[in-house]
Structures are given as structure tokens and as C-alpha cells.
């Protein structure tokens, strides 16, 4: 016995479940914590963009065309459409559907990899280099920041898919799939203000 005081038993938790889903799960809160950190970084990076914009005459600076719209439009549409299968995978995870999460994460991995094509082409159509001026630097920073999140989550989904196909899926792994789907939604939603800054601010400002 290690407890240093006499004790009275007033309850028993052995009948409680061994896992949970959604906001009841501990890991859900860890995920929210990291989204808060990264969301703060996105917000501050966006603030940096607006600050530099406010300090500069002409945005983009004279002689630079705003970044082209075609590929980001494709990507944005793709990201929004990806929410359909993503939310479906999330529902399958909550329903503890083993087959659903296996094929769902595989599908999301493929979808994510396809989305990297328009993202890669975006880089070629930014019409400015990061060394040219502060406008170019901050534009590249925003897009690299978002791309790193995109790649990280696609990688995470791929690893998850491999694991799910090769192992018996338990309650904690269903919760992991749910968290990963939530994170994808975060990556999609964070693109909307960041993308708006990159592509619309130079046209409106």
C-alpha cells in the first residue's frame, strides 16, 4: 500500500469503458491544443502579411503581377470537395466501422496526394520570388506554412491507412481516425483566409 492516509471506498470505476470518442477522449484535447498553436501561427503570419501590406506603397509592389488564380481555384475547390469524403470517414470512425475507416483513409490519402498537384503548380504561378521584396517573402511564407500542414496531414493519413489495413482496429484507433479527420478540416478551413490573403489582397489592396 502506498497511500499514506487511511481511506474510505466511495466508488468503483472498473465498469467504465476503456475508450471514448469526440470531446470525451483525451487525445481530442491534445489535437485541439496543437490546432490552437498552429492556428495562432497562421493568424500571426496573416497579421504579418497585413502589417507589411500597410507599410508598403502599392500591393503588390510596382512591376509585379498578382499571383495567377487558376491553380489555387482548382486547389480550393478540391479542398472543399475533400470535406465530403473526410466527413464521411469521420462518421465511419464514430460508428466504429472497420472497413469504412480502412478504405476511407486510403481514399483520403489518394485525394490528398492528387491535391498536391495543383498546389505544386501554384508555386510556379506566384509571379514573385521570395528574394524580390518583402511582399514576395511573406507570400511564400504563407504558402509554405500551409503546404507543410497539407503534407504533414497527408503523410499522417497515409501512415494511418497502412496501419489500419494491417492491424485489428480498436476503439482508440477509431478515435485517432476521427482526430485526423478533424485535423484535415482544420487544414482546409485555415486555407480559406490564407488563400484569400495571397490571392485577393493583391487585387483588392
Amino acid at each position: 500500500m502506498s497511500d499514506a492516509r487511511p481511506c474510505t471506498i466511495v466508488g468503483d470505476v472498473s465498469g467504465l469503458p476503456e475508450s471514448a470518442s469526440g470531446a470525451k477522449h483525451l487525445v481530442w484535447w491534445g489535437n485541439i491544443g496543437f490546432m490552437a498553436i498552429e492556428g495562432t501561427a497562421f493568424a500571426l503570419a496573416a497579421g504579418t502579411y497585413l502589417y507589411l501590406m500597410s507599410q508598403t506603397h502599392g500591393w503588390p509592389p510596382a512591376g509585379i503581377r498578382p499571383p495567377d488564380l487558376f491553380w489555387p481555384a482548382i486547389l480550393t475547390l478540391g479542398l472543399l470537395l475533400s470535406e465530403l469524403p473526410n466527413l464521411w470517414v469521420r462518421r465511419r470512425a464514430i460508428a466504429k466501422d472497420e472497413r469504412g475507416v480502412r478504405f476511407g483513409t486510403l481514399g483520403m490519402t489518394i485525394f490528398g496526394l492528387v491535391l498536391l498537384i495543383p498546389r505544386a503548380l501554384e508555386f510556379a504561378h506566384l509571379n514573385v520570388h521570395w528574394t524580390d521584396n518583402a511582399y514576395g517573402s511573406v507570400l511564400w511564407m504563407l504558402i509554405i506554412l500551409h503546404t507543410s500542414h497539407l503534407i504533414t496531414d497527408i503523410g499522417d493519413t497515409a501512415v494511418q491507412a497502412v496501419w489500419l489495413f494491417t492491424h485489428e482496429v480498436g476503439d482508440d484507433q477509431f478515435a485517432d481516425v476521427e482526430d485526423n479527420a478533424n485535423y484535415w478540416t482544420f487544414v482546409v478551413l485555415s486555407w480559406l483566409p490564407i488563400g484569400a490573403l495571397i490571392y485577393l489582397a493583391p487585387r483588392l489592396g
Partner: protein
């Protein structure tokens, strides 16, 4: 299971939570107490080194026209001293106290994410080595603790001194963010049954609030130091005015982090003070709700003050007025807390053992620092005293007075819990008088020196300035305080073997950590405590109410609801693992590589991904269904 654990079950439980012996156990442990202890020992070593740097600088300034340090060595010394104390001592030591204490105060066996805590320490150690190993071979940052561009930019700071500083920050901030998410999740989801939000101990509140502040402030400094490295390495133009950049942007982002950081350090200290005042007044804390709301108020205001570090850069006057008002406003919640502590002491039956002495030293010193802060908050006055010794005096009164003195009190207070022995009261009182007396003798004259016009960061001054006598007094005081620090450490060292046996609850504390033996076993609690008040050990005098039912043959913790702490489910707690160390090593390779080439972010990601996959790969049976099922 509704009976207490049998001795066999208790033994089985202890085995389930025990680390492997020897070096392997050392490298793989996820025990929050061991991780916190190594954080604290690292901090003690760094405080010694930073203290020696301070003493060296004080000797240089003791007399006019001294030539024992060159200007370059002096620049390196204050840069290393400030960077170490702010990034490697003050914030990490508060996190360490949270990592050690929060699970114990919550009646838990572990933190929410034990491996993340181990990862946090290894990364922190990476930050320590990032700064001090280059220093050992003669490459030391030399631009102060906040390294403003353009001085730190590619045009004025060749070599890698500035990069080392910037990347040291990335290490320590990732470590701090990992620790903060861990602590916040633990406080929200792993409280004992009955510990509603209204029954959370003030210290736990303080750490949760500081954790949230960390989450919303530290990304700023990581972002801005990454921008600085990018300007230096790949020729981005963030801070280059000729290309549309702005050096002031660096200051905005740095102080978005830098000012909340002061309160990230101070709030846990206020938590220590609240716990010590309660125990040594032998009554419940006066104004618990007011103290917690004050902490939340300080946290909110802390994000609206950063510009008061920038009054001298020429911002619009209306902005200065706003930040002056906000800076003065923070004195209100801080003052409210102090009144609550005084009221608790006044209406209690205070016992003046060393932990309480440190609190009294804190109140006196911190009030002086707070008042000089109200003075400096006034933009017109700040224009006169900024970058003088008045500011040096002010922030040392706030940081030493507001954080280090409560920390030393906390160290004395919880030392018997950690070691099983009490520290010597006689040596403790000697250390107290030497440190508090020496500190005030050393730093009070700096207010006057600042008003006389002595700028900070000068390596010497001429005799005709008339600053000699006060500088000599300041050096004497600092030397006395350093001697006190050595007595304090000697006391801790000596008492580990020779101190009086403490027993589980030497001070008559009110919170759950005092319900377990000293030192606590690796699993902390045999049973799950149930809380019925803010001071469970005072309201459950006869016997502690507990629940049973967690597994004894594997690591398991109880997860409860956020508001009411109602039991929700039993969560498996991870076993020891080498993966956090390997992941930290992979991050280290990536961070150090990215000082030299941006491609390190690409190839460095490969070992990092491998280490993280190994870390998070769930250990379960191979699939028996689906297309990749194992054939049996």
C-alpha cells in the same frame, strides 16, 4: 472491485508503473517526476552558470574604467546571461514544476501525454546545448536577449552567432508548447472525481492559464526567429526596409510573445505563493475566486501590453496612450492578489518557516518592481528611462522578486515531498537573508543609476560620470546574493542525506500531493482520490475518500469531464519508450541543419517522420479481416 487493494495487488500496480533499471530506464522513462527532476537539475546548473556571468559583469562594472573585459566579451556575457535566464531557466523551470506537481495535485498517476513530456525535456536539453556548446568553442550570440534586426540581419551579423540564438529559441519553444498542451489537457480532462472547476487548487489554475498563454504567445517568437533565419539564410526581405521589409515588425512579433512571457513566468509563481500562504496561515485562501479571476485578468491584459516595450521606436501617440493605460491596468489584478494573500496571513495563524519567509520576501520585492513598472508604463517617462539601469532594476525586481523568490519558497515547500527529507531551517534562513538582502542591495541602487543616466549594456564608464560608488554597492550586493544562492544549493544537497525525515505531510498541507508518501512511488496513488472541497486533506481528516477499479496489471488512468470532473472512461497510459528521445534527436538534426541549408527541412524530415511513426505506431494484433489480413 470495491475493496482496497490487497498488498499483492499494490505490488503488482507498482511493478506496472516501474521504469526499467539503469541507463535504459533513464533514457526511456515517461515518469513525470523523473522528467521534472531532470528539468530542475538542468535549470539549477544553468542558474549557476548565468549567475557566474552576472557576477563577472558586476565585477567589470564595480569601478570606472575597468579593462578586465573587452566590449565583445561583455556583449557576449549579457547576451548569454539574458538568453539563458529567460529562455532556458525562467519558463522551463515553471513548466518543470507543473510537470512534477499537477498530476500529484490531481490525484493522478501520470500526465495526459507522458511521452510528450519526455520529448519536451529532450528538446529543451537540445536548446541548452545549442546555446552552450557553441559558447564553449567560442561562438556566442552577442546581440542581447532579443537580437533585433537590422543588427542581427545578414548585413550586420555575419557568421552563425545570431542563428544559434534564433534556433535555440525554436528548440525551447517547441519544448514549452509540448509541455503546455500536456498540462492544459491534464487539467481539463484528468481531474479527480469531485474536483469541479470551482475546486481546482490555485496552483493548478495558474499552470493551466500559463499553459494557455504559452499556446497563444510562443508561436510568435518561433515565427519571427524563423523569419530572421530566412532573411539570413535564403535572402528573404522581411526586415530589410530597402525591399519593403520593416525591422519594427520583428519587435511587434517578439513582444507579442515577450510580454505574455513575463506573466507565463509570474502566474505559476503566484500559484506557489497561494499554496504556501494557505498552508502556513493554516486557513483556506482568502478570496480564492478573486485570485483565480485576477489570474485570468492578467492573462487577458498580458496580450494587450506588448507595445510598452516599444515606446521609444516612434509609434503613433494614440497607440502609446492605449498601451500606457493597459500597462497600468495590470497593476489592479496583481494588487488584488497581493491583498488576498495579505488578508489570508492576517486572518490566519501564520507559521514563519522558510517557505513563508520567501513569500514575504516576494511580496516586498515584487511590490517595488510593480511600482517601478507603473512608472515605466508612462510613455513620456519611459522615453527618458528606457535602455537605462532603471529598466535593468525594474525587470530584475519583477523577475527575481516576482518569480525566483516564490520559486525558492516552492522548492523549500515541496522538497520534502520530492526527497522525503526536510531542508535545514537554519541554512534556509541564512540563504533567505543573503539572497533577499543581497538582491535589494545589489539592484536598488540601479534605479538611481538609471535616473542618473547610466545606460544598460555598457561595458564600462568613465570616473567623471559619478556612477562609481553606486556600482560598487551593486556589485557587493550581487556577490552577497550569489553567496546566498550557493548556501541554498548546499542546503538542498546536504539535506538530501542528512535532513530530518519528513513523512508524507510535514507542513499540514491541504492538497492531494500530501496524501502520498514522500517521495511518492512511481504510480503516485494506489487509489483514486475523490475531492469534496478546495482543501480535501483538511475536510477529509479521518479518512480520504477514494475510488477503486483502475487496472493494476497495466498502466491506466481515469479521464473525467471538463466542467464537473465526472468519471468518463479509463485510458491506457503509455509505457516507457525510446521514441521521444529519437524524435528529439531527429528534430535536433533538422534544426541544426537548417542553420546551414534550407534543404535540411526536406531531408531532415525523413528521420523525423520515421521516429514519429515509431512513437505513435499502436501495438495491437495483426488484422484478421480485410484485404491485408494475416493468413492463419
Amino acid at each position: 472491485m470495491t475493496a482496497p487493494l490487497t498488498p499483492e495487488q499494490a505490488d503488482r500496480l507498482a511493478v506496472s508503473w516501474r521504469d526499467a533499471p539503469g541507463l535504459w530506464g533513464f533514457l526511456t522513462t515517461v515518469d513525470h517526476k523523473r522528467i521534472a527532476a531532470r528539468y530542475i537539475l538542468t535549470v539549477v546548473l544553468l542558474m549557476f552558470l548565468a549567475g557566474m556571468l552576472a557576477l563577472d559583469m558586476r565585477l567589470q562594472l564595480a569601478w570606472p574604467d575597468m579593462g578586465r573585459m573587452t566590449p565583445q566579451l561583455y556583449n557576449e556575457s549579457f547576451s548569454l546571461h539574458g538568453s539563458t535566464m529567460l529562455f532556458l531557466v525562467s519558463v522551463p523551470v515553471m513548466e518543470a514544476m507543473a510537470i512534477w506537481l499537477v498530476p500529484l495535485m490531481l490525484g493522478q498517476r501520470a500526465l495526459a501525454f507522458p511521452r510528450l513530456a519526455a520529448f519536451s525535456y529532450w528538446l529543451y536539453l537540445g536548446g541548452v546545448l545549442m546555446l552552450w556548446v557553441p559558447h564553449a568553442v567560442g561562438i556566442t550570440p552577442d546581440l542581447g536577449w532579443f537580437e533585433y534586426p537590422p543588427l542581427s540581419g545578414p548585413g550586420y551579423a555575419p557568421g552563425h552567432r545570431a542563428d544559434i540564438w534564433a534556433q535555440m529559441i525554436t528548440f525551447t519553444e517547441v519544448a514549452a508548447l509540448a509541455a503546455s498542451v500536456n498540462v492544459v489537457a491534464t487539467v481539463l480532462k484528468m481531474r479527480p472525481p469531485g474536483m469541479t472547476l470551482a475546486r481546482i487548487p490555485v496552483f493548478v489554475w495558474s499552470q493551466a492559464i500559463a499553459g494557455l498563454m504559452t499556446i497563444f504567445s510562443l508561436p510568435a517568437v518561433m515565427l519571427v526567429t524563423s523569419m530572421l533565419i530566412a532573411d539570413r539564410l535564403v535572402s528573404t526581405q522581411f526586415f530589410a526596409p530597402a525591399a519593403g521589409g520593416d525591422p519594427i515588425l520583428f519587435q511587434h512579433l517578439f513582444w507579442w510573445f515577450g510580454h505574455p512571457e513575463v506573466y507565463i513566468i509570474f502566474l505559476p509563481a503566484a500559484g506557489f505563493v497561494s499554496m504556501i500562504v494557505e498552508t502556513f496561515s493554516r486557513r483556506t485562501l482568502f478570496g480564492h475566486v478573486a485570485v483565480v479571476l485576477s489570474m485570468l485578468g492578467i492573462a487577458a491584459l498580458a496580450f494587450g501590453l506588448w507595445v510598452h516595450h516599444m515606446f521609444a521606436v516612434g509609434l503613433p501617440r494614440l497607440g502609446n496612450d492605449f498601451y500606457t493605460a493597459a500597462s497600468m491596468a495590470v497593476a489592479l489584478p496583481a494588487g488584488l492578489q497581493i491583498f488576498c494573500w495579505i488578508a489570508t496571513l492576517w486572518s490566519g495563524r501564520p507559521r514563519f518557516d522558510t517557505p513563508l519567509l520567501w513569500v514575504l520576501g516576494f511580496i516586498a520585492t515584487f511590490v517595488i518592481g510593480g511600482l517601478s513598472g507603473v512608472m515605466a508604463a508612462s510613455a513620456p517617462l519611459d522615453q527618458q528611462i528606457t535602455d537605462t539601469y532603471f529598466i535593468v532594476a525594474h525587470f530584475h525586481y519583477v523577475l527575481i522578486g516576482g518569480a525566483i523568490l516564490p520559486l525558492l519558497g516552492a522548492f523549500c515547500y515541496w522538497y520534502p515531498k520530492a526527497t522525503g527529507r526536510l531542508m535545514s531551517e537554519r541554512l534556509g534562513k541564512l540563504a533567505f537573508w543573503l539572497i533577499v538582502g543581497g538582491f535589494n542591495l545589489g539592484f536598488f541602487p540601479m534605479h538611481l543609476l538609471g535616473l542618473m543616466g547610466m545606460p544598460r549594456r555598457v561595458y564600462t564608464y568613465s570616473e567623471g560620470m559619478g556612477w562609481g560608488p553606486l556600482n560598487l554597492v551593486a556589485t557587493l550586493g550581487s556577490a552577497i546574493a550569489v553567496a546566498g544562492g550557493l548556501v541554498f544549493v548546499a542546503n538542498a544537497w546536504w539535506s538530501r542525506r542528512h535532513g530530518a525525515l519528513a513523512g508524507p505531510d510535514p507542513w499540514g498541507g491541504s492538497t492531494l500531493e500530501w496524501a502520498v508518501p514522500s517521495p511518492p512511488p512511481q504510480h503516485n496513488f494506489d487509489h483514486l482520490p475523490v475531492v469534496d472541497s478546495l482543501t480535501p486533506l483538511w475536510t477529509q481528516k479521518e479518512a480520504l475518500q477514494v475510488m477503486t477499479g483502475l487496472a493494476v496489471e497495466r498502466r491506466e488512468v481515469l479521464v473525467t469531464s471538463v466542467i464537473e470532473a465526472t468519471p468518463e472512461y479509463r485510458q491506457k497510459s503509455p509505457k516507457p519508450s525510446i521514441a521521444p528521445l529519437f524524435s528529439a534527436l531527429a528534430v535536433t538534426i533538422l534544426f541544426i541543419g537548417s542553420i546551414f541549408t534550407p534543404w535540411a527541412l526536406v531531408w531532415g524530415a525523413v528521420p523525423l517522420a520515421a521516429a514519429l511513426i515509431a512513437w505513435f505506431w499502436p501495438q495491437r494484433e495483426r488484422a484478421t479481416t480485410g484485404p491485408l489480413a494475416v493468413r492463419r
